[in-house]
Amino acid sequence: MTDFNFAKMAENVFLGNRTETVEMTETALRAGIKPTTIIENGLIPGMQRLGEEFSKGDVFLPEMLIGADAMKASLALIKPLLKKDETKRHGTIVLGTVLGDVHDIGKNIVSWMLEGAGFNVVDLGVDVPPQQFIDIIKKENPQILGLSALLTTSTHQIGVLIEELKKQGLRDNLKVMIGGASVDATYAARVGADGYAIDAVSAVAKAKELVGTKG
């Protein structure tokens, strides 16, 4: 079904049209289009445009949220059909907001964009103690750990966790990237993180760079 209108699907994701996005996903699946093709040609372009326009300041959080909602509704239909290796084409990322901090919107948008871009995202939520990160890193063996911090009272938890990873011999095979209102590239360098991202679009780019993936 080469005439499937992927551009229209991407437009529906961009506009946050959940019902239309779901209907087009069902149509595509019924027509035998590969699940990965739907993601790459329909969902990713929609989310990528949203992320780029968000970075430019042309769209805002409400539009990001309904766009992500439409994408997630589509992914819910597609994911069960993906083969195991297709769910983590670029690798696994463990994400979370550090201990003592309950901010989640920025971290969630990063999580959705990474998922849409083909990463297997293990999102631990907010207020995550160091030991919980360590337990899940041992279990999932991710390529990247992503840490979010917005409160100045909690930012130092990033350094605490990185030191603990070193102590337990978990740091060498793991890339650490950070983001959030209370950190910047200077802070990332100071605590020995591998990267900093100012927003969700640059987080996806940084994650791909860290795992050595192009596109």
Binding site: F60, I66, G100
Partner: protein, 398 residues
């Protein structure tokens, strides 16, 4: 009040909100450096601290000029259900939401000053119309001991609003407080849910915002009647670190009309309105707020790029600045980094020339601020805060 009318009083006025965690740390520091002898333990609520000894109250110790007092303004007047485990406290609120806050202490090496919102009674856009507000002027909100979970005081049962008013009214210029539509909306529905409703069901949101403002006006009127406060904070919050949370078009469509109505009602009581908006607020937003009628802007969060001098130079004839002291990189600098603190504070104090500025940290003073840094800021205030202002090496023309 001279400062609020763009005139120079005898000194730059100051107000502060101290996080309970900071007050606890500050009291211990004062005991350590031998400035106070007391065995009293500060009882830390969420943001507030319960202090019986005036010597241990930073607001009195530093001789602030203004003080905030707010009643219970939860849409539902309920007795909160508070349950605690070793790790968390979970509580219901009169906003219809349930929050979960990690129990933390300074000695644990981290702090958890904010609660996570884990459930909401408004579960869909259709639920907005079903929500029934209780009476904002219910006397229990003003005369009974307070436990308004979200409105600043946390889980500790505190003295009533009127008891608080009576204890401070002779010493401070009083400021009341009420939330505007956006703040009320997200507390009751959750930030992400509310934003998605704003994008998909704006008419339902707008109708609810109108009812939120009816409630806010009722609370404001009763605060003014009982306390005679001449100033009123409007809790807003439009920005985050790098920009606005929603588009200027959406703000204008959904939130501007009820905000304007609230400000008009405040002015009708003979009270001035100070709008509180964290994060980055671009000039176009500030112009919209001025159009809505606000008299002052708070807190000018420095780490989000807000600059008191820029606001003064561009809007100083229309807007009073309440805030502008950087709690992250200046007060939050390593303990004893007085060079950094002096530069930021004396530079921003230029914006007080001609009046129109009230000193305040650019939000609550968090527990992460070293007490000696805060104490140094107050030394600067005493040394340089008297009119006419001479700000040493950082003095500049406006």
């Amino acid at each position: 009040m001279q400062a609020m009318h763009h005139e120079e009083p005898d000194r730059i006025p100051a107000i502060e909100w101290f996080a309970g965690e900071f007050t606890t740390r500050w009291v211990e520091w004062r005991k350590t450096v031998g400035k106070v002898k007391s065995d009293e333990q500060v009882l830390t609520a969420s943001w507030a601290a319960v202090i019986k000894n005036e010597e241990l109250d930073p607001t009195r110790y530093y001789d602030m000029d203004l003080a905030l007092a707010v009643p219970n303004s939860d849409p539902k007047f309920i007795t909160p259900e508070v349950t605690s485990t070793e790790a968390y406290t979970i509580a219901t609120s009169g906003f219809g939401c349930t929050i979960k806050k990690r129990n933390s202490r300074l000695e644990d090496g981290y702090m958890a000053p904010m609660a996570e919102y884990i459930d909401f009674s408004i579960k869909s856009p259709d639920d907005y119309a079903k929500f029934q507000f209780d009476d904002p002027k219910d006397p229990r909100r003003f005369f009974d001991p307070r436990q308004d979970i979200l409105s600043g005081d946390g889980f500790t049962v505190l003295p009533s609003y009127m008891e608080g008013i009576n204890s401070i009214k002779n010493d401070y210029c009083l400021i009341g407080g009420i939330y505007e539509a956006w703040e009320g909306l997200w507390r009751m529905r959750g930030i992400s849910n509310a934003m998605m409703d704003m994008a998909r069901e704006p008419e339902k949101v707008k109708a609810f915002c109108d009812r939120l403002i009816d409630f806010a006006i009722g609370s404001m009127q009763e605060q003014v009647r009982l306390s005679q406060c001449p100033l009123m904070y409007i809790w807003g919050d439009l920005g985050y670190k790098t920009g606005l949370m929603f588009s200027p078009r959406m703000w204008r469509d959904i939130f501007f009309p009820p905000l304007k109505r609230l400000v008009e009602a405040i002015h009708k009581e003979g009270v001035l309105a100070i709008y509180h908006s964290c994060g980055h607020n671009p000039d176009s937003t500030i112009e919209g707020l001025i159009e809505a009628g606000i008299d002052g802007l708070n807190p000018l969060e420095v780490k989000a790029g807000m600059d008191a001098l820029h606001i003064k130079r561009n809007y100083g004839d229309k807007l009073v600045i309440v805030g502008g002291i950087d709690n992250a990189h200046a007060l939050g600098a390593p303990a004893g980094d007085f060079v950094t603190i002096r530069k930021q504070i004396l530079t921003m104090m230029n914006a007080a020339k001609g009046g129109g500025l009230i000193l305040q940290t650019d939000h609550t003073v968090p527990g992460s601020v070293p007490p000696e840094n805060y104490d140094y800021y107050q030394q600067l205030r005493r040394e340089f805060g008297n009119y006419p202002l001479h700000l040493a090496e950082y003095d500049q023309a406006l």
